[in-house]
């Protein structure tokens, strides 16, 4: 019954392996080639920034890496598994167990309190409430106190919401953290705090992939992948 993951794959396997991946959005006005024969490899423990102009395909790329979307062609392996061969339920379980998302718009569940938002993926995975104190510990780690944890997302500031989102992304101990413009909706100071947290998570050994416009944020990553018109520039 338990949806816990396949266990960690061996360190020799790259967490992300893309070969010749294309993504086409068929539209009435004509097909949009959002990703154009991309080949990318990201090793475990890397801190990668994906940069590029608006509309270049950064979010599309991240969605493929996160198993939210499936490439039109090419091979994409996430922790060694070919996602084009996975069922919708296995892809969903991959998102639950292997990947942590941090979005520009925070994307917390409005009906649940901050605490419940963090606990939600835990319940999906373990089919029971968290009795280990992990939720509380993660919330404390990101600087959300017990009183704030009872609030609904609408009652929290943007920075607080993003902290809750980070705690939620970490709850099932994912292999990869994917961040799409995590500081895009935050002021500079709060953005810097969030970046400090992500950097710390990388220092603890996590794979962090971050999409950003901001060169100063891109500079904090170990490696930058530049995208233009769906192709890798450098």
């Amino acid at each position: 019954m338990n949806r816990s993951s396949d266990g960690r794959t061996m360190t020799t396997v790259p967490v992300i392996e893309m070969a010749d991946v294309s993504k086409i959005y068929p539209l009435p006005s004509g097909d949009v080639l959002a990703l154009d024969h991309l080949s990318i490899r990201i090793e475990r423990g890397e801190f990668v920034a994906i940069m590029g102009p608006s509309g270049s395909g950064k979010s599309t790329l991240l969605n493929q890496i996160g198993g939210l979307d499936v490439p039109t062609s090419g091979i994409l392996r996430i922790t060694g598994r070919n996602i084009r061969k996975m069922s919708d339920d296995s892809l969903t379980d991959l998102r639950l167990n292997t990947i942590g998302y941090i979005f520009q718009k925070f994307n917390l569940i409005p009906l649940l309190s901050a605490y419940e938002n963090v606990e939600y993926p835990y319940i999906l995975k373990h089919r029971c409430n968290d009795t280990t104190g992990r939720v509380s510990k993660l919330l404390a780690d990101v600087g959300i106190n017990k009183r704030m944890a009872k609030h609904k997302p609408a009652e929290l500031s943007g920075g607080q919401q993003q902290r809750v989102a980070i705690a939620r992304a970490l709850i099932n101990d994912p292999d990869i953290l994917l961040c799409d413009e995590p500081t895009g909706n935050l002021d500079t100071k709060t953005g810097a705090q969030i970046m400090a947290m992500l950097t710390a998570l990388h220092d603890q050994g996590r794979t962090v992939i971050i999409v950003t416009h901001d060169p100063s944020i891109g500079a904090q990553a170990e490696r930058t992948i530049r995208i233009k018109d769906g192709k890798v520039e450098s």
Binding site: N63, G66, L68, D69, D88, D89, T92, D93, R95, L96, N97, Y101, F103, N107, L108, I109, P110, L111, L112, E116, E119, Y120, P121, I123, L124, K125, R127, C128, N129, R168, N172
Partner: protein, 403 residues
């Protein structure tokens, strides 16, 4: 599994949109109340009519077959079967055939003008053999008639015409020169008998056979022969016995079995009930539309939330469940409120329409409460399925992009 987070979210979504959800549930309440109170009304009506009728169900009425079976034989010299009376031989045959199943007695019947004091009116007049009067009639007041100028009257007839023992009635139309006029005296008033197929004595004048044939002639030419069955279960056997005896060559008599009439009346009532319930069912259709509408609104408003849920690892089936729960909760709340209200309202409807609530708390009547609840809940689920399916099959990325 201590806490179903999916159910939690459904409950909270309903609470968040309380007013909207309440309105949708009211549709179900109305539907459940309508169906169950109509059903209960029908069941109560059937039971009360059945009881009323079964009191008179033990009677077979044998009448001459005047039916057009042999329409072409009009001119052909009358065989006895074409007469519009039952003659003495036929009566003997009937008695021979059905005597062991019940009490067989012949009856003369006429409608005539009468005069009481100065008032003229029409009345039903029966003629009965003396021995039958003794067994069939029960006198409340006075005695049975012995002579040709003595009659008994039914209690309704007595009351309507202010008759007491000793009152005088003139039978026959005095303006009609050919009519025989007979002045009679009331010697007895009968006990109330209620509606019946064989003899409606409550509102009639009953005289001896001799008095009757003296007035109208036709001795031994009975208008009908009644069989009062000892056991109602013999109705079919006795009917067959009579028909075998008399209708062997051609249809001489018609046997009317009151239990069959009762069946047809109860089946008419139940057809009517079904019809009324179907109309009530339309209200559930309206409810289904409102549930569907609310569910679609809920899905549309929560597209982004669905995208979030899917993106962080909620399966399609879990999203589906979330919205089905929502529909089930609406249905359950509506059905429970509806059930409580339909007991109250149904009771009032039954009291008003049937006149008695003595059958209200019976299985056949109260069964409509759970039945209509179940219908209400099923309707809710059915109308929730499509919206829930829509929600579950949203593309997570599209859903996340929406605002």
């Amino acid at each position: 599994m201590k806490k179903d987070i999916i159910l939690q979210i459904s409950v909270r979504s309903i609470r968040l949109n309380f007013l909207r959800s309440l309105l949708a549930a009211i549709g179900i309440v109305i539907g459940v109340v309508a169906i169950s109170s109509m059903g209960m009304m029908g069941a109560n009506m059937t039971m009360s009519v059945t009881e009323e009728l079964s009191a008179m169900a033990n009677v077979l009425v044998v009448k001459p077959d005047s039916g057009g079976g042999g329409g072409g034989m009009m001119g052909g010299g009358g065989s006895s079967s074409d007469d519009d009376y039952i003659d003495k031989d036929q009566f003997d045959d009937i008695e021979r055939a059905a005597g062991k199943y019940g009490n067989v007695y012949p009856l003369y019947q006429e409608s005539d003008t009468i005069k009481i004091g100065d008032e003229e009116r029409r009345a039903t007049i029966y003629g009965m053999r003396d021995e039958d009067m003794a067994t069939i009639l029960t006198v409340a007041n006075g005695t049975l008639p012995q002579t040709s100028n003595a009659v008994v009257v039914g209690p309704t007839f007595a009351e309507n015409n202010d008759l007491t023992i000793g009152s005088r009635i003139t039978i026959g139309d005095e303006d009609d020169e050919e009519a025989i006029i007979q002045k009679v005296r009331v010697v007895g008033i009968l006990e109330e008998k209620g509606m019946s197929m064989d003899l409606n004595s409550d509102n009639a004048i009953i005289m001896t056979e001799k008095a009757y044939t003296g007035l109208y002639g036709g001795e031994g030419e009975y208008d009908q022969v009644n069989v009062i069955l000892y056991d109602i279960d013999d109705a079919d056997t006795a009917t067959e016995a009579i028909e075998d005896q008399l209708n062997r060559k051609e249809d001489e008599v018609q046997v009317q079995d009151s239990s069959r009439m009762m069946e047809s009346i109860t089946s008419t009532v139940s057809t009517l009930t079904t019809f009324v319930m179907a109309i009530a069912g339309i209200s559930l259709l309206v409810a289904a539309t409102s549930i569907f509408n609310v569910m679609m609104m809920s899905v549309t408003e929560r597209i982004r939330e669905i995208g979030i849920l899917r993106s962080i690892g909620t399966r399609k089936s879990e999203v589906l469940r979330m919205f089905i729960y929502e529909a089930v909760i609406l249905g359950l709340v509506g059905a429970i409120i509806g059930a409580i209200m339909s007991v109250i309202l149904g009771w009032l409807v039954v009291l008003a329409m049937v006149g008695t609530t003595k059958y209200f708390f019976t299985f056949a009547s109260l069964i409509y409460v759970p039945v209509s609840m179940a219908i209400g809940i099923v309707i809710c689920i059915v109308s929730g399925v499509y919206p829930a399916w829509r929600a579950a099959n949203l593309d997570p990325i599209e859903a996340l992009r929406s605002d």
